[in-house]
């Protein structure tokens, strides 16, 4: 099993795709959520509200996997998650700008995100499984 991303994988992750993040619930069952992300160095950054189910899952159990696919190519990245606060909304803007214009993000911050406790999940990539690369 590889532990490093190749240049082609980094390019694939650099495009504005939706990934699926997976964690482990208390009863041992998996929880999957589609989500925006940003590859930064050897970490996948994901932003969410602390109130969400997945935030609680990763606070309790840091093991995580992340999958991105398109047609017959896919990547599964695994490792452990650390959590940081995104009190100034800097991370959600950085991540969100890959997908939406700043006006959209600022409106969403006014209408929704600003009222939440935003956090960033940092998935440190320890294992890489790929197909079609």
């Amino acid at each position: 099993m590889a532990t490093e991303l190749t240049a082609a994988m980094r390019e694939f992750l650099g495009e504005a795709r939706i990934g699926v993040v997976a964690g482990i619930k208390e009863d041992g069952s998996p929880q999957l959520t589609p989500i925006w992300f940003l590859l930064e160095g050897d970490e996948i950054l994901i932003n969410t509200a602390r109130e969400r189910a997945k935030s609680r899952i990763f606070e309790r159990e840091p093991r995580a996997s992340f999958c991105v696919f398109e047609d017959f190519r896919y990547l599964t990245l695994s490792g452990r998650v650390t959590i940081s606060a995104d009190s100034d909304m800097a991370d959600i803007k950085r991540i969100g700008l890959r997908y939406k214009p700043m006006e959209f993000l600022e409106k969403r911050i006014r209408d929704q995100w600003g009222g939440q406790q935003r956090i960033t999940l940092h998935l440190k990539i320890e294992h890489v499984v790929s197909s079609g690369f």
Binding site: V20, A22, D27, G28, P30, A64, S78, G79
Partner: protein, 135 residues
């Protein structure tokens, strides 16, 4: 307890999309794979290779989560999954998947290659929980 999917989720899932399926090992991170599926009523059917990580995980703990996404629309289903060992059932499902996702010529090649591998089992997910967005 199994749930009903509802008309919109059913229609979304009936399209030949990809599913990301997750199972959990005893230790280590969740196991994710991109797979084909077909509906059987409100159940989802998958083919898993014998001896694959996800098959071993299911035998240990029968929980499966499947996420079918298409841009900003998605359906995530989770619940208990049972392994159906009958070879005839799995062969029929492989043929169904070939005709759902491939052209007849591609399907022929794919079915021949699968028969040469170590064999497969049918996995049936009975959803107990559903999350949808944008459908």
């Amino acid at each position: 307890m199994a749930i009903e999917l509802g008309e919109n989720a059913r229609r979304f899932l009936q399209q030949p999309r990809f599913a990301v399926v997750g199972t959990n090992p005893a230790d280590g991170p969740p196991q994710l794979s991109v797979v084909w599926y077909r509906m059987d009523g409100d159940h989802l059917l998958f083919v898993f290779s014998r001896g694959s990580a996800k098959e071993k995980n299911l035998r240990r703990a029968p929980y499966l989560s499947a996420c079918v996404e298409d841009g900003y629309r998605y359906v995530t289903l989770s619940g208990l999954a049972v392994i159906e060992e009958d070879e005839g059932t799995t062969r029929a499902l492989l043929r169904d998947l070939a005709s759902r996702y491939l052209t007849p010529a591609e399907g022929k090649v794919w079915l021949a290659s699968d028969e040469n591998s170590g064999g497969s089992v049918t996995v049936r997910l009975s959803p107990e929980h559903i999350v949808t967005y944008g459908i």
